[in-house]
Structure formats: structure tokens, C-alpha cells
Symmetry: C2
Subunit: 196 residues, 2 copies
């Protein structure tokens, strides 16, 4: 076996973890979200720029507003998941960079003085952090249901501002009945990995 | 404790794992890369589109060509890491979609008939998979050194083709002497997570 990670952890995070489409009623607490964040905040980003922002949709009124912007097939699960989170990229992350990357404080001006450069960096690095977040949800024994099927402009206008680009909406909770389809096939090693 | 993941696994994947800047000479084998892939291939992507592709740079001649395209500060570590991988997004991933997403084979034509839609989806979902890959490298007891400081057009021309967009270059191996800076600070929970 070439991995040192405990097989039970492999199962929890990847092999038995699945994208859930239904959930039980069991709440997801702020303590759980805090524990997830306190773990996955250490995942690496370029210049430690850490552009991911998370909006927890807790009030019924906000949930209702969000559901209206979801693609029709995503509405029932977004309406019923114990917790729904909007993940976005902060395109003004560079303001925090001198604090986040103290051994090279010039990075803010050297690389990120132009908005397009920031948007490009934020899109990539917030996506990395979104994946760490999904892994973290699983580390808490919960199922994640990430979705990109929604009106991005509508969600941005309703919940964010012009400096924050939505990445995905994630349903979070304990999986319910018939929570998933059968596991879909994955690409073979040789279809993904080549050697030069 | 709100996480169910074993604390040793938390340390291995996030808390004690660090981005390495130096490496030992110990080789990274194809068996290790296979084990990493066989774990992280299960990480979720939209429509299971799985657009990440990995180019392992094994020959000295290819390594030399890659080093030339790296930013100057990244050259020494890229030249000396036991293994270097180019991660890219396959913008023609939709060709595999009927096989990868068998319960909705229409997705290929319904959502991905236009190249810009594919490029946008591939960029996000390959970035998610890049993060799973970094976690997988750590699961193998290795350190990852992801880098975006390189000539993207040059690397694409030299190693890929017009259908594959480079995402990052990752150095992989056992950490060497003075492998990292002190851990940089992370954002506080309240700076990242808001509730509505």
C-alpha cells in the first residue's frame, strides 16, 4: 500500500463519501462549521491569498431567496438541506495579503495591483479552497452537495457584492434516504496521467 | 470535537502538512502516483466531468525544458524535486461525459456543446481536482509544492496542446532541509464566514 493515510480516513474523505441529494433533519451547527474551517484553512493557496468566502444561509427568508435562483432540479435539495453555504471568491483579497504573506509584503503591489490579475488568481485559489472545504465537510462526518446549477448573477446580486464572485452552492448535512445515484465510473489512470 | 476524522489524519493532510520548497533525493514512484490517483479520482466534480489531466515530468530533458518556463524563484526547486507534475484542464472533457455520467448522457449536448462553457467548467472543476490531488499527495506521506509562477503559454506550447489549459505545476517529494517558511497566519473565522 503506497498511502500512509489510514484506510478509514481514505474511505471517509474519498472512497465512501458521496455527493448527497437528500438529507436528514439533523441540524449542522456553527461549531461544526467552525471545526471544518479551523482544519481546512491550512490548505495551501498561492501567496497564502486565501480568497474563499462562505455565506451560511440560515434564515428561512434567505433560504427562500436562494432557492429562487437555483436551477429547477436543484431546488428541492437546496430547500431541504440542513445547511446551505454560498462559496465565493473575494476579488479584493489583496487587501489582506500583507497580513497573510508577511515574508513578502510586496506581493500585493507586485502581482495584484490590477483587478483582472486578482480575479484570475481568486478564481483558481478559491476553487482550491472550495475543494478543501468539501473535504472538510466530509471530515466532520457530513455529506456535501456542491452545485453550480444556479443563476450566478442573481445570487451575486442577492447575497454578495461586486467584489465577490460566486463559485458554487453547497448543501450540507447527514445523507437521507436514496441520497445518491450509483457511483459513476472514473477515468482510468492512463487516460489522465501521462509521462514525459 | 466536531470532526470525526482521526486527528492524525487531520495533521497529515492539513495541520502539519506544508508546501515544501526543498526535497530529499528519495524518488516518487509510479506506484505512489497510481495510489494517489486511485484515491482522489473519487473527489466530486460537476456532472462527474473529471477534467484534470496530469503530465509527470520524468525525463531529465523534459525537466530542463520545464525549468526554463518557470519564474526564476521557482527554478531551483523545480530542478531538484524528485517528481514534477504539470496539472492541466482538458477543455474537451465532454467527449468522455456520456461514459462518466451515464444517468444523464444528454448533459454533453445540453450544457457543453459550446467551447466557452466547457472552458469555464473545466477551469473550476480541474481546480477542485488539483486540490484533491494535493491532498492525495499528502495522503501518500509526501509534500506538495504547487506553483503558478510560470509562463503558462510556454508550458502549454511545450507540453500540452490547444485543448489543455495549464493550471499549476506541482513539485512532489519528501521535504528536505529548511523546506518551508514559518506557517503564515490564516484569516479568522469571522473574516471568512458570514451568516444570513
Amino acid at each position: 500500500m503506497s498511502l500512509v493515510l489510514d484506510p478509514a480516513a481514505q474511505d471517509l474523505l474519498f472512497r465512501e463519501a458521496r455527493t448527497a441529494n437528500t438529507f436528514t433533519d439533523e441540524p449542522v451547527t456553527d461549531e461544526q462549521v467552525q471545526a471544518i474551517y479551523d482544519l481546512v484553512k491550512y490548505g495551501p493557496t498561492a501567496f497564502n491569498q486565501s480568497p474563499l468566502r462562505v455565506t451560511l444561509v440560515r434564515s428561512p427568508e434567505a433560504r427562500e431567496r436562494l432557492v429562487q435562483h437555483m436551477a429547477e432540479g436543484n431546488r428541492p435539495k437546496t430547500a431541504t438541506a440542513p445547511l446551505v453555504a454560498i462559496l465565493s471568491a473575494d476579488n479584493e483579497f489583496h487587501e489582506e495579503l500583507p497580513q497573510l504573506f508577511p515574508h513578502f509584503p510586496q506581493a500585493k503591489d507586485a502581482f495584484f495591483s490590477e483587478r483582472p490579475a486578482r480575479e484570475q488568481a481568486a478564481a483558481l485559489n478559491a476553487a482550491l479552497q472550495a475543494a478543501y472545504f468539501i473535504v472538510g465537510v466530509r471530515a466532520a462526518g457530513l455529506a456535501a452537495g456542491p452545485m453550480t446549477g444556479f443563476d450566478f448573477a442573481g445570487v451575486q446580486k442577492e447575497f454578495l457584492d461586486g467584489d465577490h464572485t460566486p463559485l458554487m452552492v453547497v448543501n450540507i448535512g447527514k445523507p437521507g434516504e436514496d441520497a445518491w445515484f450509483p457511483r459513476s465510473p472514473r477515468l482510468a489512470y492512463d487516460d489522465v496521467i501521462t509521462t514525459v
